[in-house]
Amino acid sequence: MTQRWLSDPRPDFVVLALAGGLAVVAGIVAIVRELARILPNRDVPVRVDLDGVAHELVLNRTVAAEATEAVVRVSGLEAAPFALVLAAAVLPPVTTLVVAACFALLGWSFYRGEFFGRGNLVAVNVAAAVLVAASLLIPSLQGTAASSALASAGAGTGQAVVLGLDMRLLLAGFLLGAVGYAFQRGSRLKRDTEGLV
């Protein structure tokens, strides 16, 4: 009985669908929270990297530490920096939401016994494309938004556009892209063997 339960993959698919669904809800909550923090345009928190500048701290009067990033609060941002800060804050939860929705869809399809359907192929490819795009957009937008917000507050670094790349997201995207290719081949194989006796 226990062995049969362990070898039955369907509970895993239910967990995948539920985890995906929960992550979608968490993503929506995060988006609403970010909008509520930023839309009033007052004391907007902007994360700023402190690369290249020594910022030594003393914790508990004895432990030496070094700050590598800080949260700067700015108010009354102009339209362009405000849009950048808003996009930089909302993009990570939007990425989480889209990828989680794709995983929830996959889990539900697997649970129903559909593996190589067109919907699954689209879900895997969309998740892969979103991760690859996010790997470039998230760090670039966050860096540019921070630079723009600082410039707007009169403490600019002089760098208008900051380019960045999140290697973990990029690799995850490539991995999912490979899975998508396997799904494509599986779909073709399924089509070829339909009606085979």
Binding site: D192, T193, E194, G195, L196, V197
Partner: protein, 79 residues
């Protein structure tokens, strides 16, 4: 004409061959080692492909050749 559309023109004469030999589909399934469901798909011209191993086993069991089992219908007959 695309290859997929040509599938519909291949007619399987399994029904006639079974009737000539007084053999049932269930008996043929036993002899060939293919499920009755799959043989039924073949018999009703719903199959889109057949393995050489299945074809060989059916021909052995019925004492016929692939040409006796499968025929290509003229285009007018298929439409």
């Amino acid at each position: 004409m695309p290859a997929d559309e040509d599938d519909a023109r291949v007619h399987c004469r399994l029904d006639e061959l079974l009737a000539e030999r007084g053999m049932t589909l269930a008996r043929l399934a036993e002899l060939v080692g293919v499920t009755v469901v799959n043989l039924s798909v073949l018999k009703n011209d719903r199959a889109r492909a057949i393995r050489f191993s299945t074809l060989t086993a059916i021909c052995d069991a019925l004492g016929c050749t692939p040409g006796d089992l499968l025929v290509v219908l003229p285009e007018e007959a298929a439409s």
